[in-house]
């Protein structure tokens, strides 16, 4: 019989409730009669918030070593630069 000391895990159900609530907020916000620009900014903010929660708690990045965290976020600046460059092409 395997004897294992129970570890303390993050509150996964709490994170799940947070994700469910944010999804509900997204669905409400998407149909509000606000300007398109405000809606886009708000919806992207909510999506990024949810994605960060998944990465930090479900993928355990919050509890990993600094070296792995740096490795994981390494391509993000490139992704942001690419998307920003593409958007600015049409803004200016």
């Amino acid at each position: 019989m395997e004897q294992v000391a129970h570890r303390k895990h993050p509150n996964y159900i709490g994170v799940f409730i947070g994700l469910a609530v944010l999804t509900g907020v997204e669905l409400t916000v998407a149909f509000l009669p606000w300007s398109k620009r405000t809606l886009i900014l708000l919806l992207i903010f909510l999506a990024v918030w949810k994605a960060v929660m998944v990465a930090l708690y479900f993928m355990h990045l919050k509890f990993e070593s600094n070296r792995l965290r740096i490795l994981a976020i390494a391509p993000l600046p490139l992704a942001v630069i690419m998307v920003t460059a593409v958007i600015t092409e049409y803004v200016w």
């Binding site: 570890r7 159900i13 999506a47 998944v54 708690y57 993928m59």
Partner: protein, 203 residues
């Protein structure tokens, strides 16, 4: 003799060798794979933004063509499957084989249901003549959701294999690398869908 000892000491790994990012090889390999996936989906999203900004008239308002309620249910399902996946990981980390199997089976079922609902969505869209060749809206929609659906399908297949191994008692509290590595992939697929759902369906 002296020559043999010198040769042996060269062959031995250096005790001060750096352990990479401080994680075991399979996990490091999965993270590197996921980094390449980030760039893959960024390229898709970047292309989508270019096309959408250049031809805004080609896109319908949110909910006009795409079925948002059905997709919202699917999104919720994928989030639930992420929770069941992480609960499977927590169960085996605590040495609980029974709960590991239960959570894994639930994750596989929810993943398969997600793919089924996506197929149902495609079927009804095609019935309404919303096909990949219908224009920019159709081609970008099917490319982005199709690639994601392919990733979910691969995840379900790999997770079925992990579940089969779990039923054979291959994972323990001391060694459950397979569960953790497939979990990383699964959460990444969920994370990508969170972004795609907003960009493709809500904006």
């Amino acid at each position: 003799m002296a020559h043999a000892m010198t040769h042996a000491s060269v062959m031995e790994p250096s005790p001060e060798a750096e352990p990479g990012a401080g994680v075991y090889n399979e996990k490091l390999g999965m993270w590197i794979f996921l980094l390449s996936e980030i760039m893959f989906f960024t390229a898709l999203i970047g292309s989508y933004i270019i096309l959408r900004f250049a031809h805004p008239e080609a896109w319908a308002a949110p909910g006009k063509v795409l079925n948002i309620p059905v997709t919202a249910v699917n999104t919720f399902l994928l989030i639930c499957s992420s929770v069941s996946m992480v609960k499977a990981y927590a169960s085996i980390a605590d040495g609980n084989q029974k709960m590991l199997r239960l959570w894994l089976v639930l994750t596989v079922l929810m993943g398969a249901t997600f793919v089924g609902i996506q197929a149902y969505e495609y079927y009804h869209l095609i019935e309404k003549a919303f096909v990949p060749s219908a224009g920019l809206y159709g081609s970008t929609f099917y490319t982005m959701t199709g690639f994601h659906g392919f990733h979910v399908t691969m995840g379900v297949i790999c997770m079925s294999f992990v579940t089969w191994k779990a039923f054979r008692g291959r994972y323990t509290a001391a060694d459950h690398r397979g569960v953790e590595v497939i979990g990383l992939y699964w959460h990444f697929v969920d994370l990508v869908w969170i972004i795609l759902f907003t960009i493709v369906y809500l904006i």
